[in-house]
Amino acid sequence: MRYAMAVDTKKCVGCSDCVVACQTENDVPIGYCRDWIVEVTDGTYPQLELEHRSERCNHCENSPCVRCCPTGASHYSDGGIVMVTKNKCIGCGACIASCPYDARYTHPKGYVDKCTFCIHRVQKGQQPACVAVCPTKCMYFGDLDDPNSDVSKVIKKRKYKTLIPEAGTKPQLYFLI
């Protein structure tokens, strides 16, 4: 099993619904976020291109954050989801420094927090909160090992890119282009 997510940049409008839905689902304190929106404009008026991306932890297969964690708090869970065990985390911040995607933050309670792909929902057969709420239905989540999952199907059909592939982390967040 290999959980992954694809985000369709042709449909995302950058509304931030994924951000606020994650915050209310996961009790992320106001002022912090586990996912965020990136807007990129290219060109000169009126020859322009615009891309919106909903970004989060890439749940890398080769995660520097897991490798560098001195306590084992950062670890791989079901389907390769990268998780942090709160009470093992000493808040040293090594993982934050090692992440090429800046996907982690220190929770005001002292531990490091990040996207979990809403594993608590996934285990109940639900979609992650961001995927379930998105008004443009631009996000696809599922098991890459299952050829019939939403994410497998869309990745097979569409062109995609990953972010900072040169970091060699094998990210599992795919952006449809």
Binding site: K11, C15, D17, Y45, L48, L50, A132, P135
Partner: protein, 744 residues
């Protein structure tokens, strides 16, 4: 009375010491009442893990569920899968609606304006009885001295149903919402003149199945009109062609096959040129036009000279692009939508521009056709029984001197104007009830709004937040948020009719109350109790629901109920006989009703003033995480966006030496300078002759602790109003701004 009101306005702008002290006092009170955790009659049965609601953060009114956590606190709000407006997916504002409940800056107690011994004025905390006593006394005096029709209601929220009932019971029809003449009014009138029917809300655009959609300045995706955003995404998936006309590279433009970066204020010329191409290249739906329309030959003659070459000189859009896009519309027809947009009060000829939009849709045969416009349906829910409403002696219309007779709803600016005493006005409105609309940020031409307020004997403001308008009130009534109250059933049009219920998830915080309860209490006191025949809103809702085969109990469980659609068809059948609700019974390409009232029967392009040297046209719009000015203090939504910026093209930035993030003041053509500075966003996404800002920021009320002084207000810079002579809409895009590096 006039004197004291003028005093107050001076006070409220120069010094707010009294109110600040009041606010600290109230905060302490509020915290105390949280600790007390009062239990009341609104507590929910324990076995309900989730309670149904429909959203109050915007007018789309998506239906969903409020979930609570193990501590009994609101955790999240999630869409209801059976709701056609949201399809189970709330937008960021709806998801962040929890912030309305938790916002610690909320209004907490009734407040009454008092005069202090030293001549200053401040707000005094009052009990509900004291507040009602005060209002009763003043209203009775207005009724006795001027008549009940001298009371007006401004509303943009669910409470409007109940305060509206109160006003009609008293004998006033001066009930208005700024969503008409400041927003969608010209569109309704333009479509009624053409098809005999307006669009209402949600607009029955069949985006789901469209093959080509044209957006004229409409920024779907930045306006989070939920269902339309969802369906546009579906249409993109299915490969629909999107054509966006906008001087700004909007989010929708970024998703479009064609983006036409039009010179602002020239849209009507482009629309007429498209009509020209469709007719002279014979690309219109001939059968549809022949069977259903009136005035084709006149239209053909009228647009003869309106060629793409003619439009090029006006719009800066190349003739070849105009032809190519017109052909795209034609290839996809009738599954083509020339989207009517929503906020269309731009240049004063808006009804005529929307007429051109309607005519294009008619030529493409998209009205009543799959992928164009579907035929919506709405459930019939009986109202509450009451005695007949008295007929008012006069209304705001009597103050208009026969103008704007084609307006099908009341004009908020009309009621405002009818309040300002003048030699020609005998309407003499003396009391306003303002519910859920921040008129200071909503109505353009703020000096006029303040003059009207100045002339009042009484202003009651009902709101959840200390918006700017509350600073001018005599009495402030704190409404509980939509998560703490029942409201009238949501009965909106869609492909299939539904009804939905809003019920409280929590007891009202502080000393806030629902609008139903306030209106009923006031009605009882003013001898109009017969118009509120039920003892509780639960009984009233149950009565209505049982009439349509449901019950309050059922709706509490399901939230949304799908109703039968008596007419099965979403679209006209091929060749079906149809009688349109116009003078000719046809779709009027040539409008006989406009002609009858002395207006152009077919749209004509007229040039609008352009910015003088060193000035830029002020264009404003929406951000997906905010609704007007009402969400600017919401803790969850300010976390996503806490200020607006002024978008400036890099060429302009170079000329003025502006840097990204630099703060500037904006000054308009009438020398109005923004109260607060705004940060510059240097971006290629805006034309060099315009600037853009998101509406709803730059709040001047200190009690809005997160919103105060964040960004700038576009409304205060909109002082030039281009009135629509047909229906009285307030065109707001004829304002030009320049940059100032300091305020003085």
């Amino acid at each position: 009375m006039g004197n004291s009101r003028r005093d107050f306005i001076k006070i409220s702008t120069l010094g707010t010491a009294g109110t600040i002290v009041g606010s600290k006092y109230l905060l302490a009170q509020g915290q105390q009442s949280i600790l007390e955790n009062p239990k009341g009659p609104w507590m929910m049965p324990k076995d309900l893990e989730r309670t149904p609601t429909y959203c109050e953060v915007c007018f789309w009114k998506c239906a969903g569920w409020t979930y609570k956590n193990a501590n009994g606190q609101i955790q999240k709000i999630i869409g209801n899968d059976d709701d056609p407006n949201s399809n189970g997916r709330f937008c960021p504002r709806g998801t962040g609606g929890v912030g309305m409940y938790f916002d610690e800056d909320r209004l907490k107690h009734p407040l009454i304006r008092i005069k202090n011994a030293d001549g200053t004025q401040s707000f005094k905390k009052a009990s509900w009885d004291e507040a009602f006593d005060y209002i009763q006394l003043k209203l009775e005096k207005v009724i006795e001295e001027h008549g009940p029709e001298c009371i007006a209601l401004f509303t943009h929220g669910s409470g409007g149903t109940y305060f509206g009932n109160l006003l009609k019971a008293l004998g006033s029809q001066n009930i208005t919402a700024p969503s008409y003449a400041q927003c969608r009014g010209p569109r309704e009138v333009g479509f009624i003149a053409t098809f005999g029917d307006g669009l209402s809300s949600p607009e029955p655009t069949d985006i789901r199945d469209t093959k080509c959609m044209v957006l004229i300045g409409s920024h779907i995706g930045e306006n989070m009109h939920n269902g339309h955003v969802q369906e546009m995404s579906d249409a993109i998936d299915k490969g629909a062609t999107i054509i966006t006309v906008d001087p700004r590279f909007s989010t929708a433009a970024g998703k479009s096959k064609y983006w036409l970066p039009i010179k602002p204020s020239t849209d009507l010329a482009l629309l007429m040129a498209w009509i020209h191409v469709l007719i002279y290249e014979e690309r219109y739906d001939k059968k549809y036009v022949e069977q259903y329309t009136f005035g084709f030959e006149q239209l053909k003659a009228h647009v003869k000279h309106m060629t793409p070459e003619w439009a090029y000189g006006i719009t800066t859009i190349k003739p070849q692009v105009i032809r190519e896009t017109a052909r795209e519309m034609s290839y996809a027809s009738p599954a083509t939508i020339i989207h009517p947009g929503r906020h269309v009060t731009w240049y004063g000829d808006d009804t005529q521009r929307l007429r051109a939009v309607a005519i294009l849709n008619a030529l493409l045969g998209s009205w009543g056709r799959r992928g164009g416009f579907y035929i919506p349906d709405k459930a019939k829910v009986p109202g509450v029984p009451h005695p007949p409403y008295p007929k008012p002696a006069r209304t705001w219309r009597d103050a208009m001197g026969g103008k704007y007779e084609l307006a099908d709803l009341a004009l908020a600016n009309g009621v405002c104007d009818a309040t300002v005493p003048s030699a020609t006005t005998d309407c003499g409105i003396k009391a306003w009830i303002v519910n859920g609309t921040n008129l200071i940020e909503t109505l353009p031409n703020r000096p006029n709004t303040l003059e009207a307020i100045n002339a009042l004997d009484l202003m009651v403001v009902v709101d959840t937040m200390p918006m700017e308008i509350t600073g001018y009130a005599d009495v402030i009534l704190p409404e509980c948020t939509y998560l703490e109250r029942y409201d009238s059933l949501r009965v909106t049009q869609h492909r299939e009719p539904t009804i939905s219920l809003r019920m409280p998830a929590m007891t009202p915080k502080y000393d806030s109350k629902p609008a139903w309860w306030m209106a009923k209490n006031l009605a009882d006191r003013l001898g109009k109790g017969d118009y509120f025949p039920f003892d509780s809103i639960e009984e009233e809702l149950d009565y209505q629901l049982k009439k349509v085969g449901s019950s309050l109990e059922e709706m509490q469980r399901i939230g949304v109920k799908k109703m039968d659609r008596p007419y099965d068809d979403l679209y006209y059948k091929d060749g079906e006989e149809i009688e349109f609700n116009t003078n000719t019974g046809k779709i009027e390409l040539y409008s006989t009703s406009l002609e009858e009232y002395g207006f152009d029967p077919m749209p004509k392009y007229t040039a609008h003033p352009e910015p003088p040297a060193g000035y830029y046209r002020l264009i404003y719009g929406r951000a997906p995480m905010h609704t007007f000015s009402r969400t600017a203090n919401n803790p969850n939504l300010t976390d996503l966006m806490d200020e607006n910026t002024v978008w400036v093209n890099p060429k302009v930035a170079k000329e003025w030496d502006l840097k990204n993030g630099q703060e500037v003041y904006l000054q308009n053509q009438d020398n109005v300078v923004s109260t607060f500075p705004i940060k510059v966003r240097v971006t290629e996404r805006i034309r060099w002759d315009s600037v853009y800002m998101v509406h709803g920021f730059g709040h001047s009320k200190k009690q809005l602790t997160r919103a105060y002084g964040r960004g700038a207000s576009d409304t205060e810079l909109i002082t030039n109003i281009m009135m629509d002579p047909i229906m009285g809409g307030t065109g707001m895009r004829g304002n030009f701004i320049t940059f100032r590096f300091n305020k003085a």
